[in-house]
């Protein structure tokens, strides 16, 4: 009891610092630069990336300093058990917020697919408007021919999964296998930390990073095929919209997760982790499992069903 009290008495409240306000400034420069760029592009005017790049460089630099400082504080022993629990709660709720971000896009997929497209095709009492506006529109999923086929030409092909027997030639299946396996390898890396086996930790972590990079590479390959051979683009109607935003944001998160894992790999090589003190690694692995679970959802609802 007395021990717990002593620990709490040194809950580390950091000194004031310039990171947050500079990070906020960097974010502002990034997004306003991006918005100007988008608007200028849309208006067909000359545009520049300069402001966004400066802003993003500020964001990246501050994040680097900030994380480095938190790691250094931990190494100096300033972070007690209670502070570490704050980080655990923080990471958990951050992942929950990410889940809800994807929920918005999955919601859009379910709503358009089972409600909006059906009504546009004339189904039920609400189908009368669709019947009146676009009588020739046929409600199918994936939507290959859009209600207004001139404004939104549909894709020539889609990404739907073939029958299970020919999955060996189906790229998303291999991506699924890669990502699922990477969840296992990161678990093995975690077990290695718990056994204080640094060599194994570095090995499995490196393996996971490689799998992550392969996954992102194959996603890029898939997008190239979609754009160049299948006519499946962002502007090919609701199927392309949901397909690219769901898989695109997932791919973005895998990229982010891979960067986080590379940082953990660097820290593992520097010997930061031991079986008692490895939350940086654990947070990264939670994030990795999270993007894996999202992918399983994507594979089922975007590709297979």
């Amino acid at each position: 009891m007395a021990n717990a009290d002593t620990d709490q008495s040194v809950y580390y409240v950091p000194h004031s610092g310039w990171y947050p306000v500079v990070l906020a400034l960097g974010l502002m420069l990034t997004v306003t630069g991006l918005a100007s760029w988008l608007n200028d592009t849309k208006a067909g005017e000359p545009h520049t990336w300069t402001q966004s790049i400066i802003g993003f460089a500020m964001v990246a630099f501050v994040l680097y300093c900030w994380f480095a400082k938190v790691i250094a504080e931990n190494q100096q022993g300033l972070a007690n058990e209670q502070l570490k629990r704050s980080y655990v709660w923080g990471m958990g709720w951050f992942i929950f917020s990410e889940v809800m971000f994807f929920a918005a896009f999955f919601g859009a997929l379910f709503y358009t697919r089972s409600i909006a497209v059906a009504w546009l095709g004339g189904e039920g009492a609400k189908g009368i408007v669709g019947d009146y506006l676009w009588p020739e529109f046929d409600a199918t999923w994936p939507v290959m021919s859009n209600p207004d086929a001139t404004a939104f030409p549909g894709p020539a092909e889609n990404m739907k999964a073939p029958s299970v027997s020919s999955w060996y030639a189906y790229l998303p299946f291999w991506n699924t296998a890669i990502l699922l396996f990477s969840s296992v390898t990161i678990h093995w890396a975690h077990s290695a930390i718990k056994a204080n086996n640094r060599k194994k930790l570095i090995g499995w972590l490196l393996f996971t990073v490689v799998l992550g990079i392969i996954f992102v590479g194959l996603q890029i390959e898939e997008y190239v095929i979609a754009y160049t051979q299948m006519g499946l683009t962002l502007d090919s109607g609701i199927y392309g919209s949901t397909f690219f935003l769901l898989t695109g944001f997932h791919g973005f998160h895998v990229t982010l997760g891979t960067i986080i894992l590379i940082v953990q790999l660097y820290r593992a090589i520097k010997g930061h982790f031991n079986s008692q003190d490895c939350f940086g690694f654990e947070a990264a692995s939670w994030y990795w499992h999270f993007v894996d679970v999202v992918w399983v959802g994507l594979f089922i609802f975007v590709y297979v069903l």
Binding site: P20, V31, G237, T242
Partner: protein
């Protein structure tokens, strides 16, 4: 437990060697990691935004003083209604509650500071930049957002001014700020409570903020998703909200209100917490039905996720959907009724006095209940067909947000003012502020029920002659209310400069750990966890 020493007695002699006071000058406010400094920043920021949004409201009321177009053009009027709503919701009410949380959560749970102090500063400093972007859109070519605070597609996509791109990123920034702020509050509440403060011994302000923070983390990312889809529809040719490409503009409304309805409770649950502190303090009784208050707040939070389409009854939903959302919406009246009953029962046979915070709290109970009843009327689907998009809706949500959320914030400022500043405001001035606000708010919004029931649509700069009298009354009330908030500023500054010194327990009936600290509270609240005594819980 022998080593647990009361922090209030402890501060002066023990902590100097590892304590760090505030920086000097501007650096203190830019770089701070202190929950009180950040709370102060939030509160002053929200007051500034309240004045900006208030000026916009007065532009609206000036134009509506008489029928006809005489003061602003319709295009600018639309920008005013849109930005008034957005600034009041995201810039005034929400940051004010986060400011209160920053000040009070560490003191009420017995913690030294917020769990993640640097991120706390980041959450705040994103906001001035986000609102800088949003307000700057008004000066851009083509004007600022003009599509209503709910920014329905396709008004906000196909037909939007170019500045909508900036608006979208401003919303992203606000969302990031809210999510980080909420994570911080949850981590503080779940991880930093003094030993002995179990969940069911937490003050109600803590309970309501815990649940509010959960709602924020659940729905702000959904809003981010909605504006991201808008961004892609506008700039990258997707068709989420365009039926020609197989999408659906109604889907925007579904996603928006899945965020928007919990958002409504984000703005009222902390108010419930504040009122649950003030009424017991001035009735000199413990709160009636603590447990049921907690369960009521949790039920309201749960229900907030399954009622969203009651904002969309006239959009063309299947009958089954309308029935579902009508009944779930009406269910909310039950936990809300529990709360109003408990506040009233707390006052029953109490030794009541009527200082300024109590006046605002009682006005809250009465006027918020009026807003609740008009909400119940709007929940009835066939009746909503008549009321939808009329001034009756405007009257309804202003009754829950102005004498509801805003009054609770003002009440909280008066109630905890002595703890924050160490001074007592002038009670006569405070009461004057209350009566001016109370009269002004009712003159402004009560007539809008009548013009709404008679069919006056919202968001228009001109109206038929038959609504002239009600609108004139409403505009007079708006100016009374608006200028009495400048008087509020005077009362506060007067209190800070020449208020009389306040005792540690500034109100004799006030309970809770924050009142065991000296007034003003020390820079770091509880460097050592205090002892949680039975008298200080369930206040």
């Amino acid at each position: 437990m022998s080593e647990v020493i009361h922090a209030g007695q402890q501060d002066d002699h023990h902590d100097d060697h590892h304590d760090h006071g505030p920086d000097k000058g501007l650096a203190r406010w830019l770089f701070t990691t202190n929950h009180k400094d950040i709370g102060t920043l939030y509160l002053w920021f929200s007051f500034a935004m309240f004045l900006v949004g208030g000026v916009m409201a007065l532009v609206i009321r000036t134009e509506l003083f008489q029928p006809g177009l005489q003061f602003v053009n319709p295009e600018f009027f639309n920008q005013m209604t849109t930005n008034h709503g957005l600034i009041m919701v995201f810039g005034a009410i929400m940051p004010a509650f986060v400011g209160l949380a920053n000040w009070l959560v560490p003191m009420q749970v017995g913690a030294p500071d917020m769990a993640l102090p640097r991120m706390n500063n980041l959450s705040f400093w994103i906001l001035p930049f986000a609102f800088g972007i949003m307000i700057s859109t008004l000066f851009m070519e083509g004007g600022g957002p003009n599509f209503g605070w709910t920014f329905y597609a396709p008004l906000s996509t196909t037909y939007a001014p170019d500045s909508v791109t900036f608006f979208i990123f401003a919303v992203h920034l606000m969302g990031a700020s809210s999510i980080m702020g909420s994570i911080n509050i949850i981590a503080t509440i779940l991880n930093m409570r003094a030993p002995g403060m179990t969940l069911m011994k937490m003050p109600l302000f803590i309970w309501t903020w815990l649940i509010t923070a959960y709602l924020l983390i659940a729905v702000m990312p959904v809003l981010a998703g909605a504006v991201t889809m808008m961004l892609f529809d506008i700039h990258f040719g997707t068709s989420f909200f365009n039926a020609a490409g197989g999408g659906d503009p109604v889907m925007f409304q579904h996603i928006f209100w899945f965020f928007g309805h919990p958002e409504v409770y984000i703005m009222i649950l902390p108010a419930f917490g504040v009122i649950s502190h003030i009424i017991p303090a001035f009735a000199r009784k413990t709160l009636f039905g603590y447990d049921s208050m907690v369960y009521a707040v949790a039920s309201i939070a749960f229900l907030s996720f399954i009622v969203w389409a009651h904002h969309m009854f006239t959009v063309g939903m299947p009958l089954a959907g309308q029935l579902f959302f009508m009944y779930t919406t009406m269910l909310i009246a039950i936990p809300t009724g529990v709360k109003v009953f408990n506040w009233t029962a707390t006052m029953w046979r109490g030794s009541m006095t009527f200082e300024t915070p109590m006046l605002f709290a009682i006005a809250f109970v009465v006027l918020f209940t009026i807003g609740g009843f008009s909400g119940l009327m709007l929940a009835i689907t066939p009746v909503d067909y008549q009321y939808h998009d009329t001034y009756f809706v405007v009257a309804h949500f202003h009754y829950v947000l102005v004498p509801g959320a805003l009054f609770s914030i003002i009440a909280a400022v008066y109630f905890w003012f002595p703890k924050w500043t160490g001074k007592m405001y002038n009670e006569t001035l405070g009461k004057l502020h209350f009566w001016l606000s109370f009269i002004g708010v009712n003159i402004t919004f009560f007539p809008q029920h009548f013009s709404g029931l008679a069919g006056m649509p919202r968001r228009i700069p001109d109206y038929p002659l038959q609504f002239a009298d009600f609108n004139m009354v409403s505009s007079v009330g708006a100016f009374i209310f608006g200028f009495s908030q400048l008087f509020f500023l005077y009362v506060i500054i007067h209190g800070i400069r020449s208020g009389t010194p306040a005792k540690a327990r500034a109100w004799e009936g006030a309970k809770g750990l924050e009142w065991t600290l000296p007034s003003p509270a020390p820079y770091h609240s509880f460097t050592h966890p205090p002892k949680v005594t039975d008298e200080e819980v369930h206040a």
